[in-house]
Symmetry: C2
Subunit: 324 residues, 2 copies
Amino acid sequence: MAVYTEVSDDELSSFLASYDLGEALSFKGIAEGVENTNYLVHTEAGPHILTLYEKRVSLEDLPFFLGLMEHLAARGVSCPLPVRDRNGEMLRELSGRPAAIITFLEGLWVRRPSAEHCAALGETLAKLHLAGQDFPMTRANALSVSGWRPLHDSCRGGADSILQGLNAEVSEELSSLEEAWPCDFPQGVIHADLFPDNVFFLGGRVSGVIDFYFACNDMLAYDIAICLNAWCFEPDGSFNITKARALLRAYTALRPFTDEEFEALPVLARGAALRFLLTRIYDWLNTSADALVKPKDPLEYVRKLRFHRNVGSAREYGLGEDEK
Amino acid sequence: MAVYTEVSDDELSSFLASYDLGEALSFKGIAEGVENTNYLVHTEAGPHILTLYEKRVSLEDLPFFLGLMEHLAARGVSCPLPVRDRNGEMLRELSGRPAAIITFLEGLWVRRPSAEHCAALGETLAKLHLAGQDFPMTRANALSVSGWRPLHDSCRGGADSILQGLNAEVSEELSSLEEAWPCDFPQGVIHADLFPDNVFFLGGRVSGVIDFYFACNDMLAYDIAICLNAWCFEPDGSFNITKARALLRAYTALRPFTDEEFEALPVLARGAALRFLLTRIYDWLNTSADALVKPKDPLEYVRKLRFHRNVGSAREYGLGEDEK
């Protein structure tokens, strides 16, 4: 939620001159996206988003992200379409940053998703997974199981300053998941950050999915596990099985789980909770007080992790064995 | 440049239901305006700005600001028009804050205004002053000469932590201006904060003036003095007399100065510089490190103030005596 890089009217004007979008009619920095600077530009060709990629995004990953959006959009997934300039380039430079213009998607993100929203999400996620199957580029998931221990180590026990005993709890969970983590499940391109603020709705239907800057190749079912964490807990910390069931049913209607994927749901959900817990701990310890973006509360994910550790079987997520 | 108050999709939806604007199609917090929270809302009726008024704006002043925009817009000044709900109300409440919807103005603000931009500004400011002449409400200028000493006193000598000797320099200037400040010049509604980021241009022409939340009744010529400070200095601190001349000529073509106003330009420009220097000193000393908005550099206005103190006569601002 920040504008890290200022773009002047003159810089914008020269930049836009390479596109077939006409002149800029308005230009506003928007409070969207934590990692990058985003402007909403009304051009003569309609509204667009101008993104400047900041330090945390690796330049070499950008062709994957932009190519993926173009690939998915061409297959009917409603996501931002990178606009090519007159030389056919999607990725350019502006104000010293890599920059791209993408199409603007209408819709609002839902602060309190209902079961109906979760069902719509499940269907959308399955379509996204299926549409990504023939995307030719690959990107490893830096935040999958092999990335968790280095992240944990880099926190040097600081987690205890957030919650007494948290460091040991995370260490133990990490060892357990390194042992139990599956590796032979169906793979593909996953979004890997499909929180409610990245899914736009209009009139109860998904109007668009945004922010593909964590997308990577990994187990498809891990993406679902991320969504179970991000969409199916209530503000009071309780797990809403109705929402989870709606999400899982809608997803598996289009891409059924294998038996192994289904049984592994509790482990995958623990892994997803640990992944966000680790980055939240890291950000909590490494965000200076004057940062433009406030770090998110790690404790929310401590509670979610503990919930999943107490789950006895995959059935507790609401999907019957015969429905998977 | 910040979103201080979050508005959920549900809150927005109930809020919009009282207007004839249809449903929200998109909703983004924008990095515009230092004092208030602003969202850009695309509704079925087109783009609008939703403003939530934060603590620094006094509730009792809002009818003046909103009424003024409506008054000016009705007289052909391109400024945001407050949208009335079905009960005829312009000012409502949302997420615990006073809130209003205003029309969206196209255009971009100019980071490096040219003399042509300054001329367009001068014409716009004169039109704004003339259109405001029959506005029936009044609001005293809390940041005119009588407000400067309390502001200075509240800084308790802290200015010296910004620049050694600044406290004495400001004290001296304050005494001098309290003595020399005119009081019988033509009065009216002034914008009082007409910096480049509050004036939108499209194709070299002014497309709109925004942010009337410092507007008040005061000497019209004081508004011009604020613009001389905000528009006519170069980034290296030098005063650009060509820009000042363009601004003054375009303004006086529509509203000529009296002899006294013309001669008082150096004093008015010193006062305007001191007013922004004082609020910048205050903000510098009173903004916590973790604030969402970084304070602006007070030293810029120290340099401007010193420039005006060295001005021998009003002619040095570029306008000939026969042109006023």
